[in-house]
Amino acid sequence: MRFSEPIRLFAPAHLLVAAIGLAALGFMANHSVSASSEPEHVTIYAPQERFQLVTVKEQDREYVDLVAALAQFGTVASNKDDNRFKLRYASISAQFEDGSRAAKFGRLSVTLPDAFRLSKNSGEVTVRSLVDLLPHFLNEKVDYHEVSRSIFIGNAGTRFTAELQKSPAALVLTFSNPVSPQISVGGGRMRLVFDRDGVTTPAASWRFNDPLITSATFEEKPSGPELTVTASQPVLATFGAGGRTISIAAAPKAAITQPAAPIAPVPALTSPAAPSLNGAATSAPPQTPAVAPGATPAGPSANAENPLATRPRVAVLIDAAHGGDEPGAALSSDLAEKDVTLALARRLRNELQNRGVSCALIRDSDATLTLEQRAIVANTTRPGLYLAIHAGALGSGVRIYSAMLPAAKLTRTAFQPWETAQAGYVGSSRAYAGAMVDAMSKSSVRFSVALMPAPVRPLNNIAAPALAVEVAPRNGDVASLGNAAYQQTVASALATAIAGAGARPRAEQALAGGQP
């Protein structure tokens, strides 16, 4: 056999094999790419829920699975017969034909904007056709917001009003449902993007005859409905009414104009700006009303002897660790750490307020908050003391932790590294903790109190004096952590220690210097 003969004989075969191989590889690559990339979708806001439908784009048309869409509202039965597709939802029957724009609801004929098409196991319609079809199935009006790719069923969606209040000037936004927008600032503007809240107010613009807030515009964008507030100086967003109101007002001047002033004894009104939020906007973590500077008033009675009582802003920001989907330690079969920390945090808040110390909770419900969100809230609030509350099954008494970071001198820079934002405050945090331990050891209630550095997240990310407190059981009895009397005793002792530590001249001196 000559050498060239088999090559000539199999050359077409080789080409075919190569083509098939390449096609197979192309198929696999395409499959892997499409599996990893984010599919397109439209968001449907129904009165009780919100869900997303995956769309398939073909020739400038976006198709959705009709059965999958209706299945979100109730039981759907479908039947494919040759090129016809019959569908039954609740008591409504509909019939479609592959490639046809005509649809039948009983004896009623409806012409769709685009043709129906059969898929392997279902039927597909374009998004425009779905918007026309849904009212026939659901007996509700349906609105499609093309820019934000949102479909609103009935009265679903969030509406808001904007009102400018005087003295002091504040733009108050009132929403029909709780919202959690993404907030950013820059160029004299504050942008609030409501990408998850289904805000449906028609596009509008406001002009205000006010030296601080001059205008606001609301429009839909592909990233979501967006409200832009133009202000002549840095402004701050404060959430209230469970996320139903946002008040935009001037940021405190102390925080803006003295970015690296010495740290005040406890309230730290002049502490440096947050490492990642150079400005004065606060971002609301989802599912929770964020605490913002000034959101919480001072305690019920101002105590002239207590320096904390005279401060107008949050002196102590209490962070009940864990919550929502993140239960923390399982202290016992029926006692989760998240519940103990919330109960302790609430009791501590009451005790501090009774002592005239202004304070606020980052979490006041069973909300899921990431550690990063907690740090962001703390850094935008700039409290005198950030206090994370934990509960643990080991040992007994109370353990107070400061960050495990080498102390560094507080620098006069606008930005600080996120992972070591606490470094400049380690000295003040430890001095404060020492003063607390002193106060607790002299308390009439005898506690085992330990103080040590520990790598508790997010202490390293807090640009303010920051401590974590871990409450251990009384006499080794884990069930005591859920005991109201024990929680109250611990909260009262901690509040006394915090207030006492703030009043101590030695602690003040150490805190003012930033180093022990």
Partner: protein, 195 residues
């Protein structure tokens, strides 16, 4: 017209290609699945080299202390393997029952990478993090024990970074920070206080 034997060859080739693809996907799933399986066996360093004395900082939960203990282990001369074997010796003491500081069954050190002779990147396996008890104190003792043991035996290590299953993770079990790089001096200062 393509000859019949060529068609058969193509068909077999296609079957082979897709079978191989399916098998690869299956293998990938199996690797992912097995990485989460717990074998529950204490790990022990390989016994290929002569045993050397090793200093361990062992956590004692009841007393809340880290105590210096000595052990013998077969150690490699290669720094990464040596570091891994030192830590595995420590882990083995925690996996023994009864344990002064219990950790989850199947906990292991997957790898230790030494970067620029001073930074140790310790890669814990998934079972280590998944089986670890949640709590500030429990997690702190574990981290301090690992870092102090490593630095006691390899003084050139000044920083330690901890990964889980090759990836960064926010916390060990809800509390101890794994995003930061641990400064050995800071940990040793705490360890001195905890003795």
């Amino acid at each position: 017209m393509i000859p019949r034997h060529i068609q058969i060859s193509f068909a077999l080739l296609m079957v082979g290609i897709f079978s191989a693809a399916a098998y690869m996907l299956h293998l990938r799933d199996r690797v992912v699945a097995t990485s989460y399986q717990l074998d529950g066996k204490p790990v022990a360093p390989p016994a290929s080299s002569p045993a050397e004395p090793v200093t361990l900082y062992v956590a004692y939960d009841d007393e809340g202390v880290l105590l210096r203990r000595s052990a013998n282990a077969s150690l490699s001369t290669e720094p990464s393997a040596r570091a891994r074997e030192i830590l595995r010796t420590l882990i083995a003491t925690y996996l023994d029952r009864p344990s002064s500081h219990p950790i989850g069954a199947g906990s292991d050190i997957s790898e230790v990478f030494i970067v620029n002779k001073s930074l140790a990147v310790v890669d814990l396996n998934s079972a280590f993090a998944q089986g670890h008890r949640s709590g500030v104190w429990e997690e702190t003792l574990t981290i301090d024990s690992l870092v102090a043991t490593l630095s006691a035996n390899m003084p050139e290590i000044t920083q330690v970074k901890i990964l889980v299953n090759g990836e960064e993770r926010e916390t060990l079990a809800g509390h101890a920070d794994l995003m930061s790089v641990y400064d050995v001096n800071e940990v040793n200062r705490l360890v001195r206080d905890l003795r």
